[in-house]
Symmetry: none
DNA sequence: CATGAATGAGCCTTCATTCAT
DNA sequence: TATGAATGAAGGCTCATTCAT
C-alpha cells in the first residue's frame, strides 16, 4: 500500500507546522525563532519541517500567504454586495474586529513583524503589496463615487485617502500589539467617525454643528 | 588629555557608530546586520564598537533613543506655545514632513523595524512607550479642550482618538517605506482634513446629509 | 510467483539501480550523489533502493564489482589462448579501446573516483586489488617469458614492470576524464611502441647510440 | 598596539591549518573530513579556520595550490639548464623520488583524491590543468628535439607521448597509495628504460638487438 | 514487495563577544 | 584606548536510514 500520505493529511501537517510557526514567530520573532523551535512546538522532528517547506523563507512566505488568504476569504464573503460608504465601514469594522479577537493575538503580532520584514525581503514586499491590490481597488472605487457625489472632499487624492485609511488600521494594530488593552471597537468608532464627518463637529460653526452633530 | 576633549571625541565616535549602525540596520535589518558590518561602515575596528556599546542590544537601544530624542527636540521647540487644533495640525505636519524628507530614509525604515522589535524586547517596548508619554499627554489635553468646546465629538474616547491619530502617522509611514513614491504632503492633507471636518463634507445631497447627520 | 521470474525481475531492478547510480556518481561524485538522486534517476522510490542494497556503501561496492566483472568477462574471452607479447598488446588495446568508447564515459569517471575511494575504504581497496590478481599473474607470466627469451631487459623487476604498464593505462584514463579530447588510440600507439622497442629508436646518430645503448 | 598579527605569524597559522587539513584529508577524504576535524587536528577553534579560509572549497584549493607550488619550486630549481633526454630523465626521477618519500605520504594520497575531485569541481580541474601547462611545454619541446634528431619514433603524437609519460607517473602513484611497498626507484628504472629503449631489447631480431641491446 | 514520510545526527557557516597585545 | 584574532554556541539545511502503511 502506498504510504503516500493523503492530501488531507499532508494539508493537516502543513497546518500543524504553520500553527506552530505562528506561535514561535509571535513569541521569538521571525529571525530568532529557529526551525528547531518550530519543530518542537509542532511536535515533529526537525527534518519533517523540510518535507513541507523547503526553506525557512518559504515557511515565512506561507505564513504570510495564509494570513492574507484567511482575511480575504472572510472579507470577500460579504463585501461585494455593498457600495459607497458601506464598503469602507465594513472594511473598518472587519479589520478592527479581527484586531480585537484574542484568537488573532499571534497572527496580529506576526503581521506587524511581516510589515517590517517586507522592508528587507523583496518577495515578502511583493506579496504584501499584491494582497492589497484588490481591496485597494474596491476602496478607491467607493471613494471615487463618494467624491463624485459630493460626500467626500474632492480636493483630496483618492490614493492618499486610501493610504491614510489603511494606515489607521495598521497603526492601531501596532499599538494594540504593544498595549493589548486598547479597545479595537472604540478605535473603530473613532475611525468611522473620522471617515463620515462625525469626528470634527465644528462647534464654532453653527451650520456645521447642526449638520454633523448628533 | 583634557577630559573635555576626550568626551567630545567619545561623543563623536558614538555618533559615527550610530550613523553607521543606522545605515546597516536600514539595509540589512536589526538582526541581520552584524557588528562587523557596522564597524566596517563606520570605518572602525570591530573591537572599538565595544568601547562605546557593551552589547548589540545596547546599540539598538541607543539608536532608538537617539531617534526619539531627535524628534522630540525639534518638536518641542515650537509646539508648547500652541493650543487646540493647532497642536494637532502641527504634530501632523511635522511628522509627515519628516516622513517625506529623503534624509530620513534610513531613520524611517529603522523606526518601522523598531516597532516590530518592540514586540520582542521589553526594554525597547518600554522605551517606545515612554517616548510617547509626553506627546500623548499634550494631544490628550488638546483633544479634551476641543471636546469640551464642542469641536470634537464628545462621545469618542480621547485615548482612542490618540491611538487613531498616531496610528495614521505610523501606518502611512510604513506604507511609505514600502512605496517611497507616496507623497507625505498629500497624506498630510488627507489626515488634516479628517481631523478638522474637511474630509466628509456630505453636501449637495440632502437625503444623504440627513442620513449621515443623524 | 515463480521464483525464476522474480529472480529475473530482481536482477533487472538491480541493473536499473546500478545504471542510475553510475550516472549519478559520475555526475555528482560518490559522496555527493544521494540515494534520493539515484532513486529518482532510476524512476524508483527511495525505499525500494533498500530492497536491493542494504547501504550506500554496498551499492558502491556493487558498482565496483560490476565494472571489474564486465571488464574481466570481455577480457578473458580471448586472452587465454595468447602468449608473449600478444598478451600485453591485447591488454593495452583492450583497455584503451574501452577508454575511448563514449558509452564508457560514466564508467570511466566512476572508475577514477573508485581509485580515490579505495584509499579510504578497505573493502573497496581489497576488491580493487583482488580484481587485479589474475590479470597481473597473466602479465607477469608473459613478462617472465619475454625476459627469459631475451626480449625484455632482464634487469627490470617484473612486478614493477607490471605496475608501470597498469599505471600507464590508469594515468591516461585519468587524463582522458579531464580532457576528453585525448585520443585513446594514439595513446595506445605510444604505449605499444614503448613496450615493444618502437618508441626510442635511437638511430642515425652513432655517437648518441653509444651513449644510450650503454 | 596592534593585535594585528604579523604576516609571518599569519602565514604560520595558514601553514598550521593546511598541514592539519592535509592529514585529515589523507585520512578521511576530502568530503568526509570536516572542518571540525581539521580545527582539532590543528589545535585551533573551529571559527579560527574561517579567518584564514573562507570556505571548505577554498581550503581544498589552497591545499592543491600549495602542493603544485612545492613541486614546481623544487623542480624548476634544476631543470632549466638541461635539454633533450635529460629533461625527461630528470622529471621521472624527481617525481618518483617524491613518490617514494615517506614524508610525502599524505600529500601523495591527497593528490590522488584531488585527481578524482577535479572531475566534479571545475575550479580544481582548471587549477590542475593549469599547473601542467609549463612542465608539459618543456617536455613537448624536448620530445620534439628527440623526434627531429631521430631518437624517438616520429610517427608518435608528441601530445600523446606526454600523456603516456605523465600517465605512468600518475598511475604508479595511485598504485603506491594502494600498496605502499611498491618501490618507486624500481618503477623509475622501468620507466626510464621504456623511455630510452632499454626495456624491449628484442632478442629475436638481431638488428634491433644490436641497436638497443646493452 | 513498495512507498515515501519521518527521524535526527551531523555538516558548513556565521557572529556576538572576549582578550592578548 | 585600539585592534582584530580567537572562540564556540547555534542556525539552516542535508541525507542515510527506518518503518508504518
Amino acid at each position: 500500500m502506498s504510504p503516500k500520505i493523503s492530501n488531507e493529511l499532508a494539508a493537516a501537517r502543513r497546518t500543524q507546522i504553520l500553527d506552530a510557526a505562528l506561535r514561535c514567530f509571535s513569541k521569538l520573532g521571525l529571525d530568532r525563532a529557529t526551525l528547531r523551535d518550530i519543530s518542537q512546538e509542532a511536535e515533529l522532528s526537525l527534518g519533517s519541517i523540510y518535507h513541507y517547506f523547503r526553506t525557512k523563507a518559504e515557511l515565512i512566505e506561507a505564513i504570510r500567504q495564509r494570513s492574507t488568504e484567511a482575511e480575504d476569504a472572510e472579507y470577500l464573503e460579504d463585501a461585494p454586495q455593498m457600495e459607497g460608504q458601506q464598503v469602507i465601514d465594513f472594511a473598518v469594522d472587519h479589520l478592527f474586529d479581527q484586531m480585537n479577537d484574542p484568537a488573532s493575538y499571534d497572527a496580529n503580532r506576526v503581521a506587524v513583524m511581516l510589515w517590517a520584514h517586507a522592508l528587507l525581503d523583496e518577495k515578502t514586499l511583493a506579496g504584501q503589496l499584491e494582497s492589497l491590490v484588490e481591496p485597494r481597488a474596491q476602496v478607491l472605487q467607493a471613494l471615487q463615487h463618494l467624491q463624485e457625489s459630493g460626500h467626500i472632499n474632492p480636493n483630496l487624492s483618492p490614493r492618499h485617502i486610501g493610504n491614510v485609511i489603511l494606515g489607521m488600521l495598521m497603526g492601531v494594530q501596532i499599538q494594540k500589539t504593544w498595549e493589548p488593552e486598547i479597545d479595537g471597537r472604540k478605535a473603530a468608532d473613532v475611525t468611522r467617525a473620522m471617515l463620515t464627518g462625525n469626528f470634527w463637529i465644528g462647534a464654532g460653526d453653527s451650520s456645521k454643528k447642526e449638520q454633523n452633530g448628533r
